[in-house]
Symmetry: C4
Subunit: 233 residues, 4 copies
Amino acid sequence: MNPIYQDLKIQCFQANKQLPALGLVLFTFGNVSVADRSLGVFAIKPSGVPYDALQAEDMVIVDFEGQAVEGALRPSSDTKTHAVLYKHWEQIGAVAHTHSTYATAWAQTQLDIPILGTTHADHLTVNVPCAPPMSDEMIAGDYERETGFQILQEFDRRGLDYREVEMILVGNHAPFTWGKTADKAVYNSAVLEEIARMAYLSVTIRPGVPRLKEALIQKHYLRKHGKDAYYGQ
Amino acid sequence: MNPIYQDLKIQCFQANKQLPALGLVLFTFGNVSVADRSLGVFAIKPSGVPYDALQAEDMVIVDFEGQAVEGALRPSSDTKTHAVLYKHWEQIGAVAHTHSTYATAWAQTQLDIPILGTTHADHLTVNVPCAPPMSDEMIAGDYERETGFQILQEFDRRGLDYREVEMILVGNHAPFTWGKTADKAVYNSAVLEEIARMAYLSVTIRPGVPRLKEALIQKHYLRKHGKDAYYGQ
Amino acid sequence: MNPIYQDLKIQCFQANKQLPALGLVLFTFGNVSVADRSLGVFAIKPSGVPYDALQAEDMVIVDFEGQAVEGALRPSSDTKTHAVLYKHWEQIGAVAHTHSTYATAWAQTQLDIPILGTTHADHLTVNVPCAPPMSDEMIAGDYERETGFQILQEFDRRGLDYREVEMILVGNHAPFTWGKTADKAVYNSAVLEEIARMAYLSVTIRPGVPRLKEALIQKHYLRKHGKDAYYGQ
Amino acid sequence: MNPIYQDLKIQCFQANKQLPALGLVLFTFGNVSVADRSLGVFAIKPSGVPYDALQAEDMVIVDFEGQAVEGALRPSSDTKTHAVLYKHWEQIGAVAHTHSTYATAWAQTQLDIPILGTTHADHLTVNVPCAPPMSDEMIAGDYERETGFQILQEFDRRGLDYREVEMILVGNHAPFTWGKTADKAVYNSAVLEEIARMAYLSVTIRPGVPRLKEALIQKHYLRKHGKDAYYGQ
């Protein structure tokens, strides 16, 4: 094993192990990747390997075209989706994909997760976007690569900035989240699942519940993220 | 104890112990059997024994007519259902039966679990079938044996192949799953429970939610199961 | 401490400790009692003592009129309800009371839990009865004692046999269960919670879901409980 | 560190650690403060510090105007809300704030949690109040301080006594609870979450479910809290 990738593999391994610890995956239904932009590669979980059996040295090194660079195992079947996001969104350092229960249930409805409270607004100022299911042509093509483009196009279409909105639902499929670091990408997956759960409960208590008012959205987002943020240390 | 059955009993014991570990059983509400086709028998959990107290040597050896061959305890009351499935479906190596919460709740509605997302399509290309409740005649007859025939007939009626669809709900009762191996049969029980949970959430968020489009169904199933499958190692 | 009650207190203590282990109580919201008919008394949890701090010697001995016989602590505030049940139902050996989430949510609706599947029919052949909320006169009177009579009267009104139906919801309050032994009473509380959860899911998937057919009700109940029962060892 | 605050910090630390143990917080989404009225200060969790990494000496000492008195870290961003409550409600000794799932989902609906059962009435005799979302002016002003005033005003508007109703939902935000002691404030957060969960289930089983009758409300509250209370030791 090339020692140059050692640290990256360990980071990726540790990030992947957080998914079952946070209750976000059943069996192998998820994967995290972590990029090293100076090396032009990312590490990603191998395909279909159970989390219990996973080792740091199993992580696969892949370039931003989705080509395997190093590793004895085949990378996650979702690798090309990760590669597209890294290639086009230059400031992300990690990507997480899960089939977490509530977020995936929303994806199955093809609906955005509406912004209903400050827990949501602490993290993003808009609904969690749900990209429509892909066209038959995209599905029949290079499917996982096209999944990446479906995400990019939905952000373009809505005028969203991936540095501010770090999560999406792919319609009928499941969530993808990202961030500058591995911890942030995984954190976003857990936050998304909790937002999805709260929104589920609110819309089943009160169908047609109104969206959070704009003043609260801006206040909560900016106290955590603006230049005058005062949350945290 | 006949040493010829030793390995089979251990396999069966370990598979049964996975059910509580995966959160799929309360008390004794479930059982797994594992077949040895060369010996023409299967091992199955004894009836009504709590999972905590279960030992490998408690497993009961039964033939494909449902007759006990070896074992000090009475086999599961569902034994004849397992026997019918082994006898008629020659390529299955294990059967699991649980009363897992969400799958059983769907069975109680007498509705199929609709195929709404790729988590489902990764495992089967159709709705999870729900067999109608059995006729009064079948219930009054050899009930557990008839339960097996109810399953077989539902597969015939729908033109399903048990090698592709490895799960069913028996209406008003509970799920049965199977597979080539004990691990696969238990895995299918856990996957079914998760599919059932996601579908529950989706249909309560959006009643009448549309079925997953055919192109996605085929794509996801084939990337895991077709001759050109590329998921896993 | 009178050594004559030693065994009874230990049984009662162990039964009470099962409630948090089974996820049936939050804080002190539950209690189990166990009777010794030869001594004409029952042991019951002391009022308001957290389960973590509970000790076997804390159990309070009470007679079937609800009068404390021995013990340094005040018995559960629900003691008189237990006493009424023991006095009038001569074949019960233990009573459990919880505020388990799903069963209590049903009690809050004042609706019976409908019999929808075999998990339910394995344990009782009728809906889980929900007694109406008590009259203002009963509430203003000897409330906990009247709660016991409310349960007895509901069984009389419906023509139910407490030896066959070992559970009830007290409307707007919470469940009570009982059995010949402490283990059975606690088991019934856990089964009731699971039945309540499954029924919750089924009625929210399919409002107006039909009741389980009579043939299945009888079959499942009798294979576990009739004179020709063949479930268990 | 000033030794005069040592005990208060330890109390506050232990109370904060109860939140994750009770399943009431994800990541850092919650905080508990504990007051020492003789010193005119309260201790509160530092902002954004994960519960796993939290130490007793990290607690920040703040006065009832919300000004930090001692501590190396920045106090919770919600500090001024706590300060307002301590300043105006002289008999409270601790305040807890969480984003627990069911309580927050109710807050997102802007609806009170209706009083439907005795689990609720054991703790308060009215619906759990949901304050309306704050005005744009309040949000644009000293937001966290105004959140405190929103709570005070809602109690005034409804004629509620903070010594009897120890919890509120802030509309579109999340719950706050309080009590004479740290244990009681945290206990109230857990009770509120359970009440919220039961009410969720009841209103989705039976939309429009009737409120608990007044006689039961008074009976249950008074047996635990009135001058003739007989619950507990």
